[in-house]
Assembly symmetry: C2
Homo-oligomer: 557 residues x 2
């Protein structure tokens, strides 16, 4: 068997789901391949599947086990779903990090916040300059997206060239950041691209994407028309949008206030790395009370309904003493990410109850997407002319549809969800292996496996309640005292107004009294008896089978 | 102070939220008013706010306390958000139930399932016939909606006429059920309508609504084009849609299979009450394996991603042994209700992974809404010519926008969210009082108040985990044994790989050992000491402050 070098692609996260992007490229003989990892993103938890969890990220187990062969971690851009896990996972990876200047600054902040050394981040130059990382020569190609300095990656290897798009849109007037340059993509294609690994987010959007510049007019009109205070929320990292909104307000004689740590930090980051050319003067919220509402504009974090963000605070108790009033206008210059509809809806209604006029993204005038739509993707394929298209950054159905799009133009489209190892060595990409992938949860301070059962236990308590039974037994197995039950998360009285804890205690007492002495000398047997008694009694009383914890105290006396 | 009779409107549920509709009309002198209650609906729980809960409904406390003056419960139509709570709440209300024939049958089924007597339901005739209920004369006016026999209510009182629309759309070709008849609404208006209490669901939809008949063509084309099996899901109660889908399949030579109890029941109900004129022959799923997939069509429950419904089963392990295959088509002939996007998305991707072609409602060809859009609402206002418009059935922002719409045409628009008592006696409606409203949870078998804390306790356990500490003390306050901790829903090892339960036990031991004897003789003091020790230790180890339950056993002697 030959062991010729192989060029491989493997999604550890982000292919078959939205979020937590993590893609691994390998080159070399099997068993001695060298690797680069592209992006280390997170996704956000919810009560539905991950209550109490702080962040969700791809499990880097596959590459962590081969960390000695990892030559670099490359970050395409500074969105959380691409960089958010860096600080948490770096200890398992221990490789230098490469990113362009703005992204590098945020990567450094991530590392610092997680107690890691920010100096491991190296600032990469923009294409056509390249950096050599192991057997890979990588160029960071400026593309437009909803954050400055987003980059596609040209990855040159002895087995050929890969173009990894990262997140992109074809915006020739992005206002802040680099415009889309079709000539650049065409020239990259001129040298022959073996595989285009391509963003699939908007593959179901049938029309060409719109430019960031398209919303300037509507925003200006809104600022001019509004009589009272105008507040706008969007993603903190969408610096172009922040500037558009603030500039339009400023032009109408409104003072600009920026609420929320993340937005202020992002504006600072923009200045520090020269991606933000200018921004209107900013006034502190403490001074806002002194300004007539018609002369005031506020930018606020929390467009997704995040409970602690400035928007949620403004919608309820106010932000640092500042409250909204009848006649104010609140603009959601953002898209609601699926899953956040209820949180956002709650805020829309809280605002409505205060007499605030709410404008959301439903008519599309105040927001444009950061991703390439279906015809835009076709244009990318056409410019780059790759032999193979490997859709990434999408749910499974997005990958399938994007691969179909590629095939409809005579290219090979490969659906490779997380864990599929794609061999790119030959002319035709093919899936040659399937490795195990998974998710890690940052749960408070601890990284746990999504399948460890910790969160499942919490969900079971949330659905069924928790009964704790304390049993006191003598050494010989006789009961030293009546059993005692505590109920948490169950009603106090059940069917027929019966007291639940008391009825459970009676049921346990009866079960243990009726059991053989020998059984009661065995903890496992006692537990089983108690659990069964609790389950039956609770089911009858409240219609639930609660999680049960049994504490057995024995006196050897 | 005079005590002239007053005509009042009070939403107990459904105004300021979508779902759990419950509206109360009163007539008579204050303190001796007689009442009718319109609708007793539910809404569905989620992990986010109501984990483990089975159904959410409006708290009928206000009218339950005056049940002796409740003359009737009127059900406008058989959707869950209008009739779903009937069986659970009837014991607190004890009044006769009125509905038209199809609705009455479902109301009876609801009562029976909850162990109540179905005979308390009286079948009401259609307008222009009326029924006398206390001081109210009520007519059930046929309107079109996404379920047969939906009714608006003409409520005539000595103080004037109210038109309560229920849910409606202006569909002149609904295929099953009664078409929208503008002349009927105009003639109701001819006699003078004091208040139009009106559906607000689609007030933000700017174009005229489309007819159920509009989807026949696209569905027929889809059935003709599809090579393999076609499965479609929609709401079980949308009998017109079930028939359209099944008929189109049948016309293309496909055998029709109906999966899921709810759909089969609804078709039976349709026949039993003569609202469903015909339906193609139905084949049992057991016989489906013998039929070529291109000659097969299945209707499946679960369009909202419900975990146990036929759609979810087909998307995962199969339904009663029947599995989907590459080349099959799955149609969502339905809208995803906000909050269900993730559950539905999960199913779309499971289907995609099996090679199934998925068609959702995103291009609007295979689904139409059951509610009147903004210009339709304008048309209703114009036909009825009410003095006052009271928007109902909507979130707060829907009510506000609908009231503005009314005002823009010179009518009085009153935003009256749940709890606002609206006086309709005079020419101009006005809010005269605010009463307490709330929600009840059906939690297993028990109805609990949403604010009782039971569900909050469960959510706290889901977010923070649960630590149980057992403390054994002698009568004099000395420790009889070292304390013992059980952790549920927390990782076993925390920061620095330290064992969490053991570290918590040590912390509790230290706290109790360092405490005064006198303190340890007081259970409340011991609890406080233990809780504080657990919280501090857990926060350090895992970054969470868990729910803590302390079990204290004392030996006297």
């Amino acid at each position: 068997m030959t062991n010729d070098p192989k060029l491989t692609y493997l999604a550890l996260g982000g292919a078959g789901e939205i979020g937590m992007n993590m893609y691994l490229y390998g080159y070399g003989p099997v068993g001695a391949q060298r690797f680069i990892l592209v992006d280390t993103g997170v996704t956000f938890p919810d009560m539905d599947g991950s209550p109490g969890v702080d962040l969700i990220m791809a499990d880097p187990g596959f590459i962590a086990a081969r960390a000695d062969r990892l030559d670099g971690i490359l970050i395409t851009h500074a969105h959380e779903d691409h960089v958010g896990a860096l600080g948490h996972l770096w200890p398992r990876l221990q490789a230098p990090v490469y990113a362009r200047r703005f992204t590098a600054l945020i990567a450094q902040q991530k590392l610092e916040r997680a107690g890691q050394d920010p100096k491991i981040v190296r600032t990469a130059p923009a294409w056509p300059e390249t950096v050599e990382i192991g057997p890979f020569r990588v160029g960071f190609v400026p593309v437009s997206h909803s954050i400055p300095e987003a980059s596609a990656l040209v990855i040159d290897t002895p087995a050929g060239r890969i173009l990894h798009t990262g997140d992109l849109k074809l915006d020739q007037t992005p206002l802040v950041g680099e415009p889309w340059d079709p000539a650049r993509f065409r020239s990259i294609g001129d040298d022959g691209v073996k595989a285009l690994v391509c963003d699939s987010t908007n593959v179901f959007s049938p029309h060409h994407g719109r430019s960031e510049a398209d919303i300037v007019g509507p925003v200006e009109a809104l600022m001019a028309e509004a009589k009272g205070l105008v507040v706008a929320t969007t993603f903190a990292s969408n610096i172009a949008r922040l500037r558009t909104l603030a500039q339009a307000a400023h032009d109408q004689g409104r003072s600009v206030v920026v609420l929320g740590r993340a937005m202020n930090q992002m504006i600072q980051n923009g200045f520090a790395t020269d991606v933000l050319p200018d921004f209107p003067p900013v006034v502190d919220v403490q001074d806002a009370e002194g300004i007539a509402r018609g002369n005031l504009f506020m930018l606020a974090t929390g467009s997704q309904g995040e409970r602690r963000a400035a928007t949620a605070q403004l919608a309820s108790q106010g932000y640092r003493g500042f409250r909204l009033k009848q006649g104010d206008t609140f603009l959601f210059s953002s898209k609601t990410i699926p899953g956040n509809e209820k949180s956002v809806g709650r805020i829309l209604n809280q605002l409505s109850e205060q007499g605030v006029r709410v404008i959301d993204d439903s008519d599309g005038r105040y927001h444009v997407s950061g991703h390439a739509n279906r015809p835009d993707l076709e244009q990318v394929h056409t410019l780059v002319r790759p032999a193979n298209v490997i859709p990434m950054h999408g749910e499974h159905r997005h990958l399938v549809s994007h691969a179909e799009l590629a095939r409809s133009h005579g290219r090979t489209g490969v659906v490779a969800a997380n864990g599929a190892v794609v061999d790119l060595t030959g002319p035709e990409a093919e899936v040659i292996d399937q490795v195990e992938t998974g998710r890690l949860y940052l749960d408070g301070r601890v990284l746990i496996g999504a399948m460890d059962g910790v969160v499942r236990e919490r969900m079971r308590m949330a659905l069924r309640g928790h009964v704790i039974v304390s049993v006191l037994l003598e050494g010989d197995g006789s009961m030293a005292d009546a059993p005692w039950a505590e109920i948490v998360g169950l009603p106090e009285t059940g069917a027929g107004r019966k007291p639940v804890a008391e009825m459970i205690e009676q049921a346990v007492d009866a079960a243990l009294s009726g059991a053989k002495r020998a059984a009661l000398r065995d903890d496992a047997e006692v537990e089983k008896l108690v659990e069964r008694a609790v389950r039956t009694a609770a089911d009858e009383l409240v219609g639930k089978k609660p999680v049960t914890t049994v504490l057995i105290n024995r006196f050897e006396g």
